[in-house]
C-alpha cells in the first residue's frame, strides 16, 4: 500500500494497563469481553463440528437409504447390522438444526463477534456489565449439558424437529424435556447478552462516536440485540408452556386430552396453532438474528478491501431498522399451509413481500460499494463477496416462497431446505468465515495463511453450491423434507442419483473445512505476527494493540469522522482512521 500512515494513537498520553489476573479469572471466569468473545467462538466452532457430523449422517441416509451408516451405525445399532431406525433419522435433523441455529450461528455472530467487536469498535474498555456478560456465557453451559445429555437418552435425542410442533412434541420421548430446558437456558443467555449490548452501544461510545458514525457491524449488532430482546421472551414463554404440557399435564397446545395407559397425561383444551404462532414470532426474527450481524460485518469488510466508502451508509442503516421492524410481523409466512386463517395469510404475504425490499437495498448498496473501488481480493474479501452472491440466491428463492400459492407446492419440501441453507450456510457461515479471517490478526496478533484461506474459500464455495443448488429442483418436484426414505414413493424414486450427487458435494464441503481448521489452529503458532492495523482499516479496533490488552485501549480514543473514509482524494494514504485528529 502507499505511504505509511502516522499512528495517531501513539501520540496520545498512554494509559496504564489493567492488572494481571490469574489464569482462572483470565480465561475461565473471565469478565473481559474479548475473552468471553473467544470462549463463545471456540465453543461455537466445537458445536459447528458436531452439527456438521450430524448433517453428514443425514446426507448418508438420503444417498444410501438404510445401508450401514459409518460411525453412527456400527456403534449404536450393531444389533440391527448398522442400519438406523426412523426415529434416529428424526433425531439427526432435529439436533442438526437445533445445534446449528442455537449453538453455532447465533452464539458465533452475536456471542463471539458481538462481544469481541462492540466495545472495541465504539471505543469502550469493556461491556457495560462485565459480570452479566460472563453469566451470559456461563448460562450456555447448562444448555450444552442438556444437549449432550439428550444424546445419551433412549432414542438418542429429541425427535420432533427443531420447530417442535405439538402434539408430536408432547408425546415425544424424555429427550424433548432436555431440549426445551436447553433452549430456555440459551434464551436467558441471549437475553442477558442483548441487554448488555444495547446498554453498551447506547451509553459507552467514545467521544465523537455519534450513532451515525458507528460501523455497520455495531449497528447490526445493535439491531440484532433489539430483535433478541423483544422476540426471545415470547419463545421462552412458549417453551415454558410446552414444558408444563409435558410435565405438569397442562394442555396449552393439545386440543384433546392425551391418554396413555388409560390415564390422562395431558389435559387438552389448547391449540397446536398457538405454539406455531408463538414459536415463529421468535423464530422469524431469529432468522434475522442469524443474518444481520453477518451483513454488518460483511459491509465493513467490503468497504475496507474495496478501499472505498460504504455506499449508502444511511440507507443501509434504515434498511436494517426496516428489516427489524417488519421482521416482527412476517412470521405467518411459515404457516401459509398450516391451517392459519387464510385472510391473515394475505397480510403476512404483503409484509413478507415488503421485507424483501430492505434486503434488496442492502444488496444493491454492497454492489455500489464494490463499483469503482480498488479491490484487494484477500480471503476475507472473497468470503464477503461470496456472502453477497449466495445471499442473492437465498433472497430470491425467499421471494418465490413468499407467494402463498407457490408456497403450497414447495412448502416443507427441499426447496425450503435449499432456501434457508443458502441464507444460513451460503450467507451467514461465509460471512462468519470472512469475519474470522478478517479479525483473526486482532484476536490473536497473528495472521492466517492466505493461500490456505483461498483454498478453503474455493472448495467451500464450489461444494456449497453443488450441495444446495440441486435442492431447488428436488423441492420443485415435491421431494418432502424430513423424510428418511422418500424412495418408497413411486413419485420420487428417480431422484436418488441427484441426492447422491448432493451427498458427495456435502461430504467434500465438510472435508474442505479441515483446511480451515488446520489454518486456524496452525496460525495460532506459526502465523506471522500482525501489527495494530494489518488491513489498513479505519474502525476503532484497529488502533488498539493486537491483541488488545485487558481494558482495550492504551489511549483515550476520540472519534473525528465516520468509519468508511477510504481513498479520500485529499489524503496521501487511502485510509483515514476514525481516531486520527483532523489536520
Amino acid at each position: 500500500m502507499v505511504n505509511k500512515v502516522q499512528h495517531p494513537e501513539l501520540n496520545h498520553p498512554k494509559r496504564t494497563g489493567h492488572p494481571v489476573l490469574r489464569f482462572l479469572s483470565t480465561y475461565v471466569f473471565a469478565t473481559d469481553h474479548k475473552i468471553i468473545g473467544l470462549q463463545f467462538l471456540f465453543s461455537s466452532l466445537f458445536w459447528f463440528a458436531v452439527g456438521g457430523m450430524l448433517a453428514m449422517a443425514i446426507r448418508w441416509q438420503l444417498a444410501f437409504p438404510w445401508s450401514d451408516m459409518p460411525i453412527f451405525g456400527p456403534t449404536l445399532f450393531a444389533s440391527e447390522g448398522g442400519q438406523i431406525p426412523g426415529t434416529f433419522y428424526n433425531m439427526l435433523f432435529t439436533m442438526h438444526a437445533t445445534i446449528m441455529i442455537f449453538f453455532v450461528i447465533i452464539p458465533i455472530l452475536s456471542g463471539a463477534f458481538g462481544n469481541y467487536l462492540i466495545p472495541l469498535m465504539i471505543g469502550a474498555e469493556d461491556m457495560a456489565f462485565p459480570r452479566l456478560n460472563m453469566f451470559s456465557y456461563w448460562f450456555m453451559w447448562p444448555a450444552f449439558a442438556c444437549m449432550i445429555l439428550s444424546f445419551t437418552l433412549p432414542g438418542f435425542g429429541p425427535t420432533s424437529g427443531w420447530t417442535a410442533y405439538p402434539t408430536l412434541s408432547l408425546i415425544a420421548g424424555d429427550a424433548q424435556n432436555l431440549w426445551i430446558l436447553g433452549l430456555i437456558f440459551v434464551g436467558i443467555s441471549s437475553m442477558m447478552g442483548s441487554i448488555n449490548y444495547m446498554t453498551t452501544i447506547l451509553q459507552m461510545r467514545a467521544p465523537g462516536m455519534h450513532m451515525f458514525r458507528m460501523p455497520m457491524t455495531v449497528w447490526a449488532m445493535f439491531i440484532t440485540a433489539i430483535l433478541q430482546a423483544f422476540a426471545l421472551p415470547v419463545l421462552t414463554a412458549a417453551l415454558f408452556m410446552q414444558l408444563s404440557d409435558r410435565l405438569l399435564a397442562t394442555g396449552f397446545f393439545a386440543p384433546e386430552s392425551i391418554v396413555v395407559n388409560n390415564s390422562i397425561t395431558i389435559s387438552g383444551g389448547g391449540e397446536p396453532l398457538l405454539w406455531q404462532h408463538l414459536f415463529w414470532f421468535y423464530s422469524h426474527p431469529a432468522v434475522y438474528i442469524m443474518i444481520l450481524p453477518a451483513m454488518g460485518m460483511v459491509s465493513d469488510i467490503l468497504s475496507c478491501f474495496a478501499r472505498k466508502p460504504l455506499f449508502g451508509y444511511r440507507p443501509m442503516i434504515y434498511s436494517l431498522i426496516a428489516i427489524a421492524g417488519l421482521g416482527f410481523v412476517v412470521w405467518g409466512h411459515h404457516m401459509f399451509v398450516s391451517g392459519m386463517n387464510r385472510i391473515l395469510a394475505i397480510s403476512f404475504m404483503v409484509s413478507t413481500m415488503l421485507i424483501a425490499l430492505p434486503s434488496g437495498i442492502k444488496v444493491f448498496n454492497w454492489l455500489g460499494t464494490l463499483w469503482g473501488g480498488r479491490l484487494f481480493l484477500t480471503t476475507p474479501m472473497l468470503f464477503s463477496i461470496g456472502f453477497v452472491s449466495m445471499f442473492i440466491i437465498g433472497g430470491l428463492s425467499g421471494i418465490v416462497m413468499a407467494a402463498p400459492p407457490v408456497d403450497i407446492q414447495i412448502h416443507d419440501t427441499y426447496f425450503i431446505v435449499a432456501h434457508f441453507h443458502y441464507v444460513l450456510f451460503g450467507a451467514s457461515v461465509l460471512g462468519v468465515m470472512g469475519a474470522i479471517y478478517y479479525w483473526y490478526p486482532k484476536m490473536f496478533g497473528r495472521k492466517m495463511n492466505e493461500t490456505m484461506g483461498k483454498l478453503h474459500f474455493i472448495l467451500t464455495f464450489i461444494f456449497l453450491n453443488g450441495t444446495f443448488f440441486p435442492m431447488h429442483f428436488l423441492g420443485a418436484r415435491g421431494f418432502p423434507r424430513r423424510y428418511a426414505d422418500a424412495y418408497r414413493f413411486e413419485e420420487f424414486q428417480d431422484l436418488l442419483p441427484l441426492n447422491q450427487f448432493i451427498t458427495l458435494c456435502a461430504f467434500l464441503m465438510g472435508a474442505a473445512q479441515l483446511v480451515f481448521l488446520i489454518n486456524f489452529f496452525g496460525s495460532l503458532i506459526w502465523g506471522p505476527k500482525a501489527d495494530r492495523n494489518p488491513w489498513h482499516a479505519n474502525t476503532l479496533e484497529w488502533s488498539a494493540p493486537s491483541p488488545p490488552p485487558h481494558g482495550n485501549f492504551d489511549f483515550q480514543p476520540t472519534v473525528y469522522r465516520g468509519p468508511y473514509e477510504y481513498s479520500h482524494p485529499e489524503r496521501s494514504v487511502d485510509y483515514w482512521p476514525q481516531t486520527e485528529p483532523p489536520p
Partner: protein
C-alpha cells in the same frame, strides 16, 4: 432520576399518596363494575374493567416509575414493546380467538350450545336456552 430530585420531597409525598388513593379507588371501582348492571353485557363490562386497569397502570408508570418527570426517551423504550405485544395478541385472534369456527365434530361436545340432539330421539329438547355462564 436526575430530574425527580428537583422536586420538594414533601410535595412528592403528597403526590404519591394521592396516586395511592386513586389506585385504591379504581380497584374498588373495578370490583363494583364486576358485580353491577354493567356486566349484563359482558363485553362492555370487560372493556370497562380493562380500561380501569390501564388507568391504574398508567398512574403507576407515570408517578411511581417517575416517567412523568422523565425526558422523551421513555417513548423510545416503552412504545415498541407495547406495539409488538399488541401486534402479537391481535394476530393470534383470528386463529386461536376464533377457533370454534374450525372445530371438528369430536370437539363440539365441549361446547354446551353446540350439542344438538335430533328430534327423533324424542325425550330431549335441544339445550339452546342454556344460560350463558
Amino acid at each position: 432520576m436526575e430530574s425527580t430530585g428537583n422536586h420538594n420531597p414533601k410535595r412528592q409525598r403528597t403526590v404519591f399518596l394521592t396516586v395511592f388513593g386513586f389506585l385504591v379507588l379504581l380497584t374498588g371501582l373495578s370490583f363494583w363494575v364486576a358485580n353491577s348492571w354493567i356486566m349484563e353485557d359482558r363485553m362492555i363490562g370487560w372493556a370497562v374493567m380493562l380500561g380501569i386497569s390501564a388507568c391504574k397502570a398508567m398512574l403507576v408508570i407515570a408517578f411511581f416509575m417517575h416517567l412523568w418527570w422523565e425526558s422523551s426517551w421513555k417513548y423510545a423504550l416503552t412504545i415498541p414493546a407495547l406495539f409488538m405485544g399488541s401486534m402479537l395478541v391481535l394476530l393470534l385472534v383470528p386463529d386461536i380467538g376464533m377457533r370454534t369456527d374450525h372445530y371438528p365434530k369430536t370437539r363440539e361436545r365441549l361446547s354446551p350450545q353446540a350439542v344438538t340432539v335430533p328430534e327423533a330421539t324424542g325425550n330431549v329438547s335441544s339445550s339452546q336456552d342454556r344460560t350463558k355462564s
